[in-house]
């Protein structure tokens, strides 16, 4: 299956008369863009902003990040099963506005999984979104049923983000990309003998799917991951919008929708394919609450990997705490059937750094990459501008905030837990954890 991603490298975003891309500049017709946002009657108000690296801007509560893109050929919509009918993706041509993102921010109300981004200052580098220009949608909704709930589905805003990212993305539909990434991977049993002699590898994704109620979990082709058993997918499906981020996990552990389609671990495995490894594909697993479910998924992942002929695996866990059990169990089951495994996730060592880093440990997990520590404390100066509402960090149960963590002068103290996607479990993290 072959997918081409045509890239347009955005250097800056501005507002103007026509939504268009020209020579590194992305122009947004604000009025037209807001019409797309307001198509959903549950959206009560919305505004758009542009933020750039170095701006003295703090964004909170950030709900999700999207890459602005469109499908050119192969299928119709960017987010099948969500904003367009269910249809296969991962082939044909997709055009993407690269090097920038669309951030969706609540105008007032935050939730457990929402986060904070600083565009300058000491925490700018903590999230990749601080290092790129972003179009920012700030909006409010009529979702009264969850207004004062800590857990929010954030559906109207998340769906508005998907529609808006596709609307903007469509401005490059008929243009010639500045570069084309080609992702091509033949069926597992149709590979040359040279490729088949290389060690075979699977990528095991454990997206966050632990909410028993529907509407909060990671979606795969629009299907709630909580109702899924581990399944086999082509890497191109991941890179082409089959997975949409949920609305549940403490946010430093979150894999945003932007990061699913740009997943650097999948891309690196694709690049190694035929050189050092034979990349078999992706096992899309899940994370569960009940022990029996954790064991079932771990066993099925190991069985699927074994019978695909895998010699090695990378397991990535979107979460920490309770789902560490799923993470370690899956690594152990893979090792038990002789598959050499590397884990990629973050740690939770407590504010003093002295707690056990993962809830579950096992000596068979001999190769772990650590992408951050959710408990790290950040004390951050005020920013001139806040997009959203700063008080949400303290008031609304964001995982890394607490009552009193926002001071009168606008400075804050928070746990990394609330830094938007800061542990970049997709693989973007340039942090690790070390013994002190």
């Amino acid at each position: 299956m072959k997918l081409e991603i045509g890239k347009f490298f955005v250097k800056d975003i501005v507002f103007g008369d026509e939504t268009a891309y020209n020579n590194g500049i992305l122009t947004i017709n604000k009025e037209e863009a807001l019409q797309v946002v307001m198509e959903d009657s549950h959206m009560t108000e919305a505004d758009l902003h542009i933020v750039r690296p170095g701006d003295e801007v703090r964004l909170v509560p950030v709900k999700d990040a999207f890459e602005m893109r469109c499908k050119v050929s192969g299928s119709e919509g960017v987010y099948p099963g969500c904003t367009s009918p269910v249809a296969p993706v991962g082939f044909g041509r997709t055009h993407a506005l690269a090097g920038c993102s669309l951030l969706v921010v609540g105008k007032h109300w935050g939730s457990f999984q929402d986060g904070l981004i600083d565009m300058s200052g000491p925490a700018q580098r903590n999230t990749i979104y601080g290092l790129m220009p972003n179009l920012v949608l700030v909006g409010d909704t009529d979702e009264e049923f969850e207004r004062r709930e800590q857990q929010k589905k954030n559906k109207a805003l998340r769906w508005a983000g998907m529609r808006l990212s596709e609307y903007v993305g469509r401005c490059v539909k008929d243009m010639t990309p500045e570069s084309i990434e080609t992702w091509d991977l033949e069926p597992v049993n149709r590979r040359t003998s040279e490729v088949q002699q290389l060690p075979s590898v699977v990528y095991v994704a454990q997206p966050q799917t632990q909410m028993e109620a529907m509407g909060y979990n990671t979606l795969v082709y629009g299907w709630d991951g909580n109702h899924m058993l581990p399944t086999f997918m082509h890497p191109n499906e991941i890179l082409d919008g089959a997975v949409v981020s949920g609305s549940f996990m403490p946010v430093s552990s979150k894999i945003s929708t932007y990061e699913w389609v740009n997943n650097p671990t999948v891309k690196r495995l694709m690049k190694e394919h035929g050189k050092t490894i034979n990349f078999l594909g992706v096992i899309m697993s899940n994370l569960n609450v009940v022990m029996e479910e954790k064991i079932r998924s771990a066993n099925m992942v190991a069985r699927m990997a074994l019978n695909l002929g895998a010699d090695g695996a990378i397991v990535a866990e979107e979460g920490y705490g309770n789902p560490d059990v799923d993470y370690i169990q899956t690594i152990v089951e893979l090792e038990n059937v002789g598959i050499k495994t590397v884990g990629l996730s973050n740690e939770c060592t407590g504010r003093d750094g002295a707690s056990q880093p993962l809830v579950a440990l096992d000596e068979k997990a001999t190769a772990l990459v650590s992408s951050g520590n959710v408990s790290q404390i950040h004390e951050l100066p005020p920013m001139k501008t806040v997009l959203g509402e700063l008080e949400s960090l303290a008031r609304d149960g964001l995982s890394g905030g607490w009552e009193g963590c926002v001071r009168e002068d606008g400075s804050i103290i928070m746990e990394n837990n609330a830094m938007f996607c800061a542990d970049h479990i997709s693989g973007f993290s340039v942090k690790t954890c070390a013994d002190f």
């Binding site: 060690p199 671990t265 750094g353």
Partner: protein, 352 residues
């Protein structure tokens, strides 16, 4: 210029060897023996005083030795406290750890030492202070002192302390996140680190995990006792139940001692004659009724009903909170020896 006080033993303090190991603590102005080398090796710090204490004196009267040294330091101005290097000398290493921990608690200044990896002081104190990895014997004096000196200079300049593997101290059981670029390392993405690690693992090359899993020392669960009427049962606890006066001075946390107490005349542990000294849980219920931790009352009832054979005359106790795995294993072995001597063949081990 910042000020440091240096602690050394009787041998390096030029008092004498093993025959002088009972030497009682003294404090000198300026340097003695290796503290001169330490003083010369530091650029930002000078050694203002040297404390000398015999290893045996510290080992046999730790509370006395510590309190005397702490009172000598009272009123002195100092920015850090450095002990050793102690190389492979076990009593010296333990003394360095003991005094450093006490000085840190009382004066809240940075304390650090140097020991060989096999020095028992490392296992006992690495969680409490920076212990730099040192050589096996005094021929490493210069290298070990230089490591301590450069760390002292770093603290004096207020520089950020880097991870254990970079600075050269033993990990203290603390983990924090770090940006690779802040360690002077290539800011390689986690994605690339994971794939590179996997390729190495697949091709049998060496790789370094970023999260080492501590080795688990698991003990298999013993098979059930076939006939309880034919065995002698003992009660053992890590819940810190002791006679009121804690006669063996078992520590309330990070215990290195255990005790055995005769209960052959008792049907239950009475309060307040017995209580808990464990600092890791709320003592209210255990102090009200120590049998909730050491179930002597229940086992006596079973005995009376004829359901079990014999109960050991003693119960065995220590404190589990903060206690290192190494110390726990040692105490466990010692207790097991005693149990065997007394013909015990089954144990009820209660933890809290």
């Amino acid at each position: 210029m910042k000020k440091a006080i240096h602690y050394i033993n009787q041998f390096f303090g030029q008092i004498g060897g093993e025959d002088k190991a009972d030497f009682e603590p003294v404090i000198h102005e300026g340097t003695v023996g290796p503290s001169l080398l330490l003083d010369q090796s530091m650029k930002e710090v000078s050694v203002t005083h040297t404390v000398i204490c015999g290893d045996n004196f510290m080992a046999s009267h730790p509370e006395e030795a510590v309190s005397r040294i702490l009172s000598m330091l009272e009123g002195l101005e100092f920015d850090m406290f450095i002990a050793g290097p102690a190389f492979l000398a076990g009593r010296y290493g333990t003394a360095c750890g003991t005094i450093c921990k006490a000085v840190q608690e009382k004066f809240n200044v940075p304390v650090f030492s140097s020991m060989n990896v096999e020095n028992p002081g490392v296992e006992m104190f690495k969680g409490h202070l920076y212990i730099f990895e040192g050589g096996r014997r005094a021929t490493y004096m210069k290298q070990d002192i230089e490591k301590l000196a450069s760390f002292a200079d770093k603290i004096a300049k207020g520089e950020k302390i880097l991870p254990a593997s970079i600075e050269g101290y033993f990990p203290r059981g603390i983990r924090h996140e770090v940006f690779l670029e802040d360690l002077g390392l290539e800011p390689k993405m986690a994605a690339d680190r994971a794939v590179d690690m996997l390729v190495k693992k697949l091709t049998g090359q060496e790789f370094i995990t970023e999260l080492p899993i501590p080795k688990q020392d698991r003990v298999d669960i013993a098979p059930a006792v076939a006939d309880l009427r034919k065995v002698k049962i003992a009660l053992v606890t890590s819940g810190g139940i002791v006679p009121r006066e804690n006669p063996d001075h078992i520590q309330s946390c990070s215990a290195t001692k255990w005790g055995e107490y005769d209960v052959s005349k008792l049907d239950r542990l009475p309060a307040p004659e017995y209580k808990t000294i464990h600092a890791g849980y709320d003592p209210e219920q255990a102090d009200k009724n120590p049998n909730v931790v050491v179930p002597l009352d229940a086992i006596r009832a079973y005995q009376k009903e004829g359901r079990i054979g014999e109960v050991d005359d003693y119960f065995y106790t220590t404190v589990g909170t903060g206690t290192t795995q190494g110390e726990a294993a040692r105490m466990g072995k010692e207790i097991a020896e005693k149990l065997k001597e007394r013909g015990v063949s089954a144990v009820i081990l209660t933890s809290t």
